[in-house]
């Protein structure tokens, strides 16, 4: 992520979507495919939607929940799937396991649901991420106060969401960078950890990041 511990490399990204050609017309099929599809599909259907056409506050937060509601018309399953917070899992395999558990549970308790034909099939899609080094660098965490409001949505996605898949501790790039300054910036790290990336849009995440950085450094400087 960063060329040295003391400089933070600002990156940007773009996602390209790739169809796997795998689709499910019924719940039983979804379950079957879910056991076998590339794990990248889970990333796409839970996280990449942040960079796809959507609304500020969509009713459903992952594609599986949206499909269960919109196309399978099973509100119970949709609500259960909607509650999954992907960043709470150590990795995508664990997330897959949880998804399968929820689907199996629903299959067990329902009659004909596993074979009920959905209005439209679920298409498994994966993504390729193109990461661009912007060439911009922050040499101290304080510099980020002015840099963050100018970051593109792609940069926010890369550093705050995608980072959780890359960093050994499964955290965002900012907190990962602060480790090089330990024990400094611990309070800032705690405040950043409290930002829930799942329910917020990228624009909202940027605004919250800015707020946290600004108030942290203002309080450090003390009243003027």
């Amino acid at each position: 992520m960063n060329e040295t511990n003391s400089r933070f490399a600002i990156k940007d990204c773009a996602l390209v979507s790739i169809s796997t050609g795998i689709k499910a017309h019924i719940l039983a099929e979804l379950l079957e495919h879910l056991r076998e599809v590339e794990v990248g599909c889970l990333y796409y259907h839970f996280w990449a939607r942040q960079l796809r056409p959507s609304f500020d506050h969509p009713e459903f937060h992952n594609d599986f929940a949206a499909w269960a509601h919109r196309d399978l018309h099973d509100w119970i399953l949709a609500e259960r799937l909607n509650l999954i917070a992907p960043h709470e899992f150590q990795n995508l395999e664990e997330l897959r396991e949880e998804l399968i558990n929820i689907l199996e549970e629903r299959v067990d308790e329902s009659g004909d649901l596993p074979w009920r034909k959905a209005e439209a099939p679920f298409h498994f899609v994966k993504s390729q991420i193109v990461v661009l080094d912007t060439g911009k660098r922050a040499t101290s965490p304080e510099e980020l106060v002015d840099i963050i409001p100018l970051l593109s949505q792609g940069s926010i996605f890369y550093h705050f969401i995608d980072a959780r898949r890359r960093t050994p501790e499964r955290i965002d790039d900012f907190r990962s960078w602060f480790k090089a300054f330990a024990p400094d910036y611990e309070d800032l790290s705690i405040a950043l950890a409290a930002i829930d990336p799942y329910f917020l849009t990228l624009t909202e995440i940027r605004a919250q990041l800015h707020k946290v950085f600004k108030s942290y450094f203002e309080s450090k400087r003390g009243p003027k």
Partner: protein, 416 residues
């Protein structure tokens, strides 16, 4: 010129978006790119290329757009192929294959040096697809861009074409629903509209208001509009039924404006059916517009209060995108790409029946504030997702991904 063009887009989408494009394009600077389709004018593919090619050039890529020509027999075969790929059974014989391949061979002789040298070749739709098999010395990446809904193809034609398409490095489809299993990556890139073209640019207020007198409409009555070909899948009779049902409760005028149907005998038939259904209803207007009436369509969309796209089957539905861009909520059929664009209570409403459409017409005409708010959201939604700049970003990303291998992650170094 290049900078000026980028600045014009920048005024609409903002500097971030253009900067992002510049960053991506930097790594593709001077790459030789060739687009090939079958026509320079008419149709969605040509419209997109008219916008995409100058933008790619403005970003420093060495782009050429070539079209393949042919005799009537060739285009008869390719039109049949087109229909077949959309699911209609057609006659597809050895003679059809010979006509198709021979024409491609003839065109290849002219295009050979360009195609062999290109770093990227984008072949649009089936007409020029066969060129790849004629170019064994190709050094670049070849991508088949399919603008057609391939979800339910007529198998004999698809089996033939598939044997050609497998030679490509990748293909592009507008939606996952449109794909077929292929042994290479199938990228999903939705189409887009260009905010600078006559169809989508801002118009003077007097030109917008001018449509009322021009088409005998009442400027004091709400205007509900559907712009569509005269095609059963666009459900024109359902649109008229919806309009009539809504009129019982609220004053409005309905305009169904469609394009010419010179090569479509069924279109002519449907046009007359629609005229007959509208007969005797002074508030229903059926307009037959020439294919180049882009500015008129633009003015009608801007003059409308509510736009319908009550299709029973739809590809991506760029007329929906156009209406949303003009800040109009859209009442759309729950099908194809309309589902991607129309989100209940945000940009419009998805409906299944004329009754559903009638209710939503009444709702949107009754709640003016809601209508305007949804319109604002609709405009923003298109701005962020369905403009040519996003389309180009996807193309550039795909090109970078293709030259960097098929890994999940492509890292591009900083600009020096």
């Amino acid at each position: 010129m290049s900078q000026e063009l980028l600045e014009r887009y920048q005024q609409i989408v903002g500097p971030d978006v253009i900067d992002h494009l510049k960053q991506l394009a930097y790594h593709l600077k001077d790459a030789k790119v060739v687009h090939i389709n079958s026509t320079r004018y008419g149709g969605g593919v040509a419209e997109i290329l008219h916008s995409m090619v100058p933008l790619m050039q403005a970003l420093g890529l060495d782009v050429q757009w070539e079209t393949i020509s042919g005799e009537e027999a060739f285009f008869h075969v390719t039109k049949n192929m087109h229909n077949a790929l959309q699911g209609h059974p057609v006659e597809f014989t050895e003679a059809s294959i010979n006509t198709y391949e021979e024409n491609n061979r003839k065109e290849y002789e002219r295009l050979k040096p360009l195609l062999e040298e290109a770093d990227f070749v984008f072949i649009h739709d089936p007409q020029p697809a066969f060129l790849i098999t004629l170019c064994p010395e190709r050094k670049g990446k070849w991508v088949w861009r399919c603008h057609i809904d391939l979800s339910r193809p007529y198998r004999p034609v698809w089996r033939y074409l598939r044997n050609i398409v497998v030679h490509y490095n990748a293909s592009i489809f507008s939606m996952p629903d449109f794909t077929q299993p292929l042994p290479h990556p199938q990228y999903i890139i939705p189409p887009s509209i260009d905010p600078l073209t006559e169809k989508n640019m801002e118009l003077p207020e007097e030109e917008i208001k001018g449509v009322f007198s021009r088409f005998g409409l009442d400027p004091n009555k709400p205007l509900v509009l559907q712009i569509s070909r005269f095609d059963r899948f666009k459900d024109p009779m359902g649109v008229i039924r919806a309009g009539l049902m809504a009129m019982k409760f609220t004053p409005l005028q309905l305009v169904y404006a469609g394009g010419g149907a010179a090569d479509d005998p069924e279109g002519e038939l449907i046009y007359h059916e629609v005229l007959a259904a509208a007969k005797g209803h002074p508030d229903i207007h059926v307009l037959m517009l020439p294919p180049d009436a882009h500015r008129t369509v633009n003015a009608l969309q801007r003059a409308a209060d509510v736009v319908l796209q009550k299709s029973l089957r739809e590809g991506f539905g760029l007329t929906v995108t156009e209406a949303l861009w003009k800040a109009k909520p859209v009442i759309g059929g729950n099908t194809g790409g309309i589902r991607l664009q129309v989100v209940n209570h945000h940009t419009g409403f998805l409906v299944h029946t004329p009754e559903g459409a009638a209710l939503r017409i009444r709702y949107l005409l009754f709640y003016a504030d809601k209508r305007l708010e949804m319109g604002r959201k609709a405009h923003q939604f298109v701005k962020e997702n369905f403009l040519i700049t996003r389309h180009l970003r996807d193309y550039l990303s795909l090109m970078l991904a293709l030259i960097s291998g098929n890994g999940e992650r492509v890292e591009v170094e900083a600009r020096s």
